[in-house]
């Protein structure tokens, strides 16, 4: 994995380079915005660590230029300004993650890993049943356009049923796909979740097939 670091403070730059090289990354180090922008535009990187306060051209401008040139590599922004407004500005300019100084190198490495993993990307898809929509990429569920409050477990259950729309799904199958192996399979939490989903989305959204399991039917709206 090849990573570009754009950092003007020499000590921090050296420190980052040695830490990340130790973690198995190939590192290029640029010490000003102009240089960093050039490297980012001409070379191919798996990720960029970009300091915002840079000489020559500041970090946000560099980032903006890359995005306008169509460079898509994930960028982690480093900054001493850690207010939420700065965070939002950085992310809106096209950053993928944001880390405020001072930070611990372990955290930086963890974030960098997650960033690279995420950037491999997954396609978006939307599941629809009547007026209920479930976006598997963003995890948003809406009923008639209004967002619905679902817990993570409720979401998983609904998502599984929507993926298998029209089929009868047994309680065991649901438990296997929603919980890890250690879960107590005799518990009746599935019934509890189904009741809660019905309360939030409408009683007829999930049909109980006595003795077999549950089914989510295509509703006629």
């Amino acid at each position: 994995m090849r990573v570009l670091i754009v950092e003007d403070e020499p000590n921090l730059g050296r420190q980052l380079r040695s830490t990340l090289e130790g973690a198995g990354y190939a590192i290029d180090l640029a010490t000003d915005g102009e240089d960093g922008h050039y490297l980012g535009s001409t070379e191919s990187y798996d990720a960029v660590i970009l300091d915002l306060g840079l000489p020559e051209v500041d970090g946000l401008t560099v980032l903006d230029r890359w995005r306008k040139e169509g460079r898509k590599m994930p960028v982690l922004v480093l900054t001493a300004r850690d207010s939420w407004s700065d965070k939002v500005a950085g992310l809106d300019a096209g950053a993928d993650d944001y880390l405020a100084k001072p930070f611990q190198t372990e955290e930086l490495i963890a974030r960098l890993r997650a960033l690279i993993r995420r950037s491999s990307g997954n396609a978006s898809s939307e599941l629809i049943a009547g007026d209920i929509r479930l976006d598997t990429r963003s995890g948003k569920v809406t009923k008639a356009g209004e967002p619905v409050k679902l817990t993570a477990q409720e979401y998983k259950l609904l998502s599984y049923l929507m993926h298998h729309k029209g089929k009868v799904v047994s309680r065991t199958e649901l438990i296997e796909h929603i919980y890890d192996q250690d879960f107590d399979r005799d518990s009746n939490t599935i019934e509890v979740f189904v009741t809660r989903i019905r309360k939030k989305l409408g009683a007829d959204v999930i049909t109980t097939i006595r003795g077999l399991g549950y089914s989510l039917e295509e509703q006629v709206s």
Binding site: D82, S83, W84, S85, K87, V88, L91, D92, A95, D96, D97, Y98, P102, Q104, E107, A114, R118, S138, G139, K140, V141, E146, P147, V148, K149, L150, T151, A152, Q153, E154, Y155, K200
Partner: protein
């Protein structure tokens, strides 16, 4: 003419002050200018009216005299045996005899020799056919004026038929206008001088009145200057009722600024104090070369960072609140935070519902700060789903941030607001400052934050109430 001089200067000054840009200009100059305009206007109208009335009366009395002479001339005329006109007593005025004296008469009739005063000498008055009746006519004439000498005449004339003759005689008495023109000129000059003096006097009075009226403002300026130079701390003098509220406001502003400065000093002191403890710990550990020096430095550095972050957030919020009473739309801020949290926290879904238009009286950056901290907390410690609802009320807008995490038992919720408090032991990154900052900033703006249990999601519900804008 003085009356006209004033408006000309006033008109000259206006473009000058306008050319200097958007300056409002001097209040004194403005008030005196307005006074000058109406003084000049009223004096001009009054002067012209008076001039007309007085001139008219001078001319009338002159005309009466001429008419009297004309009538007495007709009364003393008779026809002599030759059929010519003659006077049965000579006219009393010596000026009829003196050549070119300025007072003349002439009696003319068709077919008869014209009988004229000796003063006319070789000249004759023009006999116009325009006035052919027996009523006396009075008019001005320039018939004796030549190009190098003006002799304006006032003429009274009347036609009469005398007993013993069938001829229609035209009786004319003419007198030079010199005397009345002279009188009128003297009258006008008196009017101009007296009205000019009156105008100047009124202007001076208006200026004095303006200076006197605006004097308290100068005193306010002096008082404020005295406060700035340190001679005084407050405006203490008594001022007129129009100015008093201003000075009271200034005093309150001063008190407010002092309170803020005091608060800033206190905060700087608190921060310094808060940093000294970890610094002491580090110094002691380093001096003693303790084996866990590295751990001590990391731990104490984190403590110091919390303090710096906390005081920075507070200082920013106080500074911004003092700078402007701004309004922010909750929805816009939530969407920005949602975008950021979506990017920063993989596998977390943030949903926003409720009112899109609700506004709060909070500076946008501080609203971002509060919502960012609350939503990020919910994203970090919840089960992956965060639900935000905007509920506008009459005075306050409630923003509910719910998560589907394990929640926090009621008795431990208070601990979350302590600086550096972290109830989790998962080692997720953070300084443990989030809620403390949110509460501080919310209270600075007159809002509040409460922690409850989420009915729908089962986790924690943070209810942020902020004053509606």
């Amino acid at each position: 003419m003085n009356e006209q001089a004033a408006p000309v200067t006033a008109a000259d000054e206006r473009p000058k002050s306008r050319a200097k840009g958007h300056r409002i200009g001097s209040l004194t100059r403005r008030m005196i200018g307005v006074a000058a305009l109406w003084i000049v206007a009223l004096l001009l109208i009054g002067g012209f009216a008076l001039d007309r009335v007085l001139t008219r009366s001078i001319v009338d009395s002159f005309d009466n005299q001429l008419a009297f002479v004309l009538n007495s001339m007709i009364a003393s005329s008779e026809i002599d045996p030759q059929g010519e006109v003659r006077f049965n007593r000579p006219p009393a005025d010596q000026r009829f005899v003196e050549p070119y004296s300025g007072l003349y008469f002439q009696i003319s009739g068709s077919g008869a020799e014209t009988f004229a005063s000796r003063s006319l000498w070789d000249r004759r008055l023009r006999v116009s056919e325009a006035h052919g009746d027996v009523k006396p006519h009075l008019y001005d004439s320039d018939e004796f004026s030549s190009h190098d000498q003006a002799e304006p005449l006032r003429i009274a004339e009347r036609d009469a038929i005398l007993p013993g003759s069938s001829v229609r005689w035209r009786f004319q008495v003419a007198q030079s206008r010199e005397t009345i023109d002279d009188q009128i000129r003297r009258l006008r000059s008196t009017l101009i001088w007296s009205f000019s003096a009156l105008g100047v006097g009124l202007l001076v009075l208006a200026a004095l009145q303006t200076f006197y009226g605006l004097w308290p403002l100068r005193r306010v300026r002096d008082e404020v200057a005295a406060i700035r130079s340190g001679d005084k701390t407050r405006i203490t003098d008594e001022f007129p009722t129009e100015i008093q509220p201003l000075t009271e406001e200034i005093n309150q502003l001063l008190a407010h600024a002092e309170a803020q400065a005091e608060e800033a000093r206190r905060h700087a002191g608190n921060l310094a104090h808060a940093l000294k403890t970890p610094l002491t710990v580090i110094t002691n550990a380093a001096t003693a070369r303790t084996p866990d020096l590295a751990d001590t430095v990391c731990r104490e550095a984190l403590v110091m960072r919390r303090q710096v972050d906390h005081h920075l957030a507070r200082a920013r919020a106080i500074g911004r609140r003092a700078a402007a009473q701004s309004r922010s739309t909750v929805w816009e801020s939530l969407e920005a935070v949602q975008r950021a949290v979506d990017r920063l926290h993989e596998g977390v879904t943030v949903d926003i519902a409720g009112n899109h238009q609700a506004q709060v009286r909070v500076e946008r950056q501080d609203l971002d700060e509060m919502l960012g901290n609350l939503v990020e907390n919910a994203a970090k410690y919840g089960g992956g789903r965060v639900f935000v609802t905007v509920e506008p009320g009459k005075q306050m807008v409630d923003i509910l941030i719910e998560d589907d995490g394990p929640g926090i038992p009621e008795e431990r919720r208070g601990e979350l607001f302590k600086r550096g408090a972290r109830l989790d032991t998962t080692g997720k990154p953070g300084t443990g400052l989030g809620l403390a900052i949110v509460r501080d900033v919310a209270e600075i703006y007159g809002g509040s934050i409460h922690l409850e249990e989420s009915e729908d999601l089962g986790g924690l519900l943070a209810r942020l109430s902020l004053p509606a804008g």
